[in-house]
């Protein structure tokens, strides 16, 4: 018996076992996915309008006007829900689904943190509840700074069993625009809708990044 063969034999089964275990682990991964905690996602949209602050700078005084522009023919709630659900599906730590009628979740009441109670989520047929509260879409038209459109949203994860807030993230995103209100609304509000679509996409990306840091 040679030196080489006698030295290799004791290690060979260990290596084989390790490799087999690795192969088995890879095969079992899809089974693990089935035991993901389920999260019901509720969406609250506080305003269907674009609120513009038109700021006019003069030498000795500033003049502001808050203008509300209707966002016409845009299914905002549907767009926000679709974008968020597509983004959330990529996060395999949980099984995400939009809240259904049987969950009996009131998005507007859940978004109101001061008056939220554990009972409000106890009826959910999921392990956790994610509340996406979109405060609104706004824009700034200014003489000095860059004109921009913005979105503000709060994303909160709640534990169904205890009603406890597990984490909360503030999402505030901006995109530039021409600053011309007439151009913004021309061609059936083309520039406005494109800006809002970009804001929804950016808000989703920001939520994805922030959620990745949350360990719970």
């Amino acid at each position: 018996m040679g030196f080489g063969s006698s030295a290799r034999r004791p290690h060979a089964p260990t290596l084989t076992t390790m490799l087999l275990l690795m192969a088995l682990a890879c095969a079992v991964l899809p089974l693990q996915a089935q035991s993901q905690p389920q999260v019901a996602v509720v969406f609250n949209l506080q305003s269907n309008d674009l609120t513009v602050i038109d700021a006019k700078y003069r030498v000795f005084y500033n003049k502001f006007e808050k203008k509300t522009l209707p966002i016409q023919g845009y299914d905002l709630r549907g767009a926000i829900q679709d974008e968020f659900m597509t983004m959330l599906a990529a996060d395999t730590r949980y099984k995400w689904r939009p809240a259904e009628a049987e969950d009996k979740l009131d998005a507007a009441r859940l978004a109101d943190e001061k008056h939220r109670t554990p009972e409000m989520v106890s009826s959910a047929k999921a392990d956790r509840v994610l509340v996406v509260d979109v405060v609104g879409f706004g824009a700034w038209v200014t003489g000095l700074a860059k004109d921009r459109m913005e979105v503000l949203a709060y994303v909160t994860m709640l534990d169904r069993a205890t009603g406890r807030k597990l984490w909360k993230e503030k999402i505030f995103e901006k995109v530039g625009f021409s600053g011309d209100l007439q151009k913004l609304q021309a061609e059936d509000q083309k520039e406005m809708k494109q800006g809002i679509n970009s804001l929804i996409e950016k808000a989703c990306q920001a939520t994805k990044t922030k959620m990745a840091d949350n360990k719970v």
Binding site: T16, L19, L20, M22, A23, C26, A27, L29, S47, D49, T51, V52, I53, K56, Y61, N62, K63, F64, E65, K66, K67, T68, L69, P70, G73, Y74, D75, G78, A79, D82, T86, V135, G136, F137, G138, A139, W140, E150, V151, L152, L181, Q182, Q185, A186, E187, D188, Q189, K190, K193, Q194, N197
Partner: protein, 232 residues
Amino acid sequence: MPRMLLSILLLLPLLPRVSALADDTGSIRIKADAGEAEVFLDGKGVGKSPLTLTGVTPGAHQVTLTRPGYEDHEQQVQVAPGATAKVFVMMKALRAELPKFPVQYYALHQHAAGACNGILTVTAEALDYKSSDGKDVFHIPIDDIKSLSRSMGTAWWTSSPLSTPGEYAGCRLEIPGRSLGFFAYEQDPGAPAGPIENRAKFRQAEKTKELFELVYRLWMDSLPRRQKTAAK
């Protein structure tokens, strides 16, 4: 032999990923502002928007969206291998019929301090306002309106734009050199005759919204015509 088997076993889970890397198809993500619309790719129905089509052969494809109450939308999309082409479609709604003109509103016209009452008459071409005392008279052609919004007017300071519902604000139009704010309302039909500013005002929020929507529609319809004129 056992080593070869082991190698095969180890490589098995990686196979789908390898095939994905070698995938020479692309994807198209299709969204529409109107929400759900029937989507056709090269004339074949593929589902309802919003959706993501995977395994699309690279090259030019014809995307068509249809929805009742809207004009059909067609556009060409270029698909690159391994990439996702994004399509955000703004569907053009078929216009609802306009009311019979002229439409008259009891209106409150904002001044820098205070307000006056009068009648605002809306036609397809212009807005005409006459106060009850006859002192304030305006003729505002729709084509002269620079911008239109719901607003309470100018202020010294205002907070973030992301928190205020605008349903109680007035209908404010900007014309060259000035801006004009109006609130529309209904009068109590049983009120005794007399100066209109003394009579009770009803349904101010609804009537102002109605006025705004009518003028906004006329203004939006005027924009393409004005852009063409400006281009000439």
